[in-house]
Amino acid sequence: MITGTPKPIEEILQMLEPYDTIILAGCYGCVTVCRVGGEKEVEILASTIRLAREASGRKIAIREVCLERQCDPEYIETMRPYVEDYQAVLSIACGAGIQFLAEKYMLTPLLPGINTGFLGVTERQGEWAERCQGCGDCVLHLTGGICPVTRCAKSLFHGPCGGSSKGICEVGKDVPCGWQMIIDRLKSLNQMDNYSKLKPYKGWNTSRDGGPRRIVREDMI
């Protein structure tokens, strides 16, 4: 899922300073699962903002909504009948959702209520960790199902570097060495042959470096 963290309330209040009527829009997708932008978070954030604004002597009207997904046009359209009745939309969906709202409603300022994080997993309740950078050319079949681009701090294709010590990466004592994990897994799969092969330079053109990406599936159009 796409993960995220709430923006500090002070930053949100500062963004809202020019406005007196807003829509606060959540999303039932990933951000609901990682509990940063769902219906419940909309409710809590709306109350917090209202209280803060009341305390500052300038009330704010907030319409609370939660869209099925902010990354699909049909759900975004559900806001069209009333969006222009408000001065701004504060969205707590991921960066993709916020931008999609912005481009559909050209006359309404869109404000981000969360900082979008990464493509990750829930390791345990309240803890998420990155697993994929969406680089567009997956090699997991060669690396024991563990991604060198994401799990190695240097994205090495021939790791581990000299900074791997007792399974821990040089960047921090809580960061496991991705290449130690790859090697452990290749060994258990009896696939160490994959390790000792020189790999070609990675083509980053399928990653963000090639510019904004697009997937077109002719069979679905």
Binding site: A153, K154, S155, L156, F157, H158, G159, P160, C161, G162, G163, S164, S165, K166, G167, I168, E170, V171, G172, C177, Q180, I183, D184, Y195, S196, L198, K199, Y201, K202, W204
Partner: protein, 308 residues
């Protein structure tokens, strides 16, 4: 001869080589480099110039190489893939060769979080293994990795680094083997303190015949004090300093510890020199270049041979 570098010639002639390193200054003053060069000169066959080591911004390695070259020392250019994409790497490889630099050490580079710009964007477009391959391809095939023809191939004696003390130990020799396949002509090791573990590593490498395919230059760093030893052991990932080594220097009174560190370093060089498969020594006297002559001379490695 692949590069015609002095280091390559010294090793090809069967001499036990000596390299040292020179960290460029955190400023634009060339005299800092020249002063270090004066301490290095005559003691080495080539001198590494580090490339923003520990991600702390310093004068560029290429500039440092040229400054020591002007002082009559053969430079060995360290190049990390942390800060440059493949376009900049290829360009800098060509530029360095054009300026007459003939040795290169291909490294990944410490993560930027250790430096003074932890918010920097890292690059790691290719890794150190692929950088070795890149230099080799350009030198031997006369083409860019893209396949386009070069207008004059760069000439380099290609080096890599290994850390026999990092984990997991079992892939350390296979990884060296890959670096040789990628094109490494010589290898400089991380500072060795744990001689037993290094011998195990070297035996495994020799079993694969790697010492015949690559010149192994053993890395040593003289300890200035017991405090330095403890700090390095604790703070530097992949640094293996046995307690017995620390005890030996810690047992000396403070004012005698530096001299003891040098004595231990000389002993170690002599032991390494006697080991089959070790082609030379790489002395990393960190900010202690003034002791190079004492260490290298003390190990009986002076004067350096003149090879044509």
């Amino acid at each position: 001869m692949k590069s015609g570098s002095n280091l390559e010639k010294v090793l090809a002639a069967g001499h036990f080589s000596v390299t040292a390193e020179c960290g460029p200054p955190r400023g634009a003053d060339p005299d800092v480099v020249r002063r270090k060069a004066a301490l290095v000169k005559g003691n080495v066959d080539a001198c590494n110039v580090t490339d923003n080591q520990t991600s702390v911004v310093r004068m560029s390695s290429t500039a440092g190489c040229m400054l020591i070259k002007e002082e009559g020392i053969e430079p060995l250019l360290q190049m990390v893939v942390r800060d440059r994409n493949r376009i900049a790497l290829q360009s800098d490889i060509l530029g360095a060769s054009a300026l007459g630099i003939r040795n290169i050490l291909c490294l990944s580079g410490d993560h930027q979080k250790f430096g003074d710009d932890p918010q920097a964007k890292n690059v790691f477009d290719i890794d150190s293994m692929q950088l070795i391959h890149m230099v080799r391809t350009m030198r031997d095939e006369g083409v860019f990795p893209s396949g386009n023809k070069l207008d004059g191939a760069p000439q380099f004696f290609i080096g890599c680094a290994v850390n026999p003390f990092a984990d997991p130990f079992e892939i350390r020799v296979p990884r060296l083997k890959m670096k040789i396949e990628a094109g490494a002509d010589f290898v400089q090791t991380q500072c060795i303190y744990n001689m037993d573990k290094f011998k195990t590593y070297l035996d495994l490498a020799k079993k694969e015949g790697l010492h015949d395919k690559v010149k192994i230059l053993a890395g040593v760093t003289p300890l200035k004090s017991a405090g330095m030893a403890k700090f390095m052991k604790k703070m530097v990932a992949g640094m293996d300093i046995p307690d017995a080594v620390i005890k030996r220097i810690a047992d000396e009174p403070k004012e005698r510890q530096a001299a003891k560190g040098i004595e231990m370093c000389i002993e170690q060089i002599q032991e390494l020199k006697g080991m089959e498969g070790i082609a030379g020594i790489h002395v990393m006297a960190i900010e202690w270049e003034e002791k190079l002559s004492e260490i290298i001379g003390g190990a009986g490695l002076l004067p350096r041979p003149l090879v044509e």
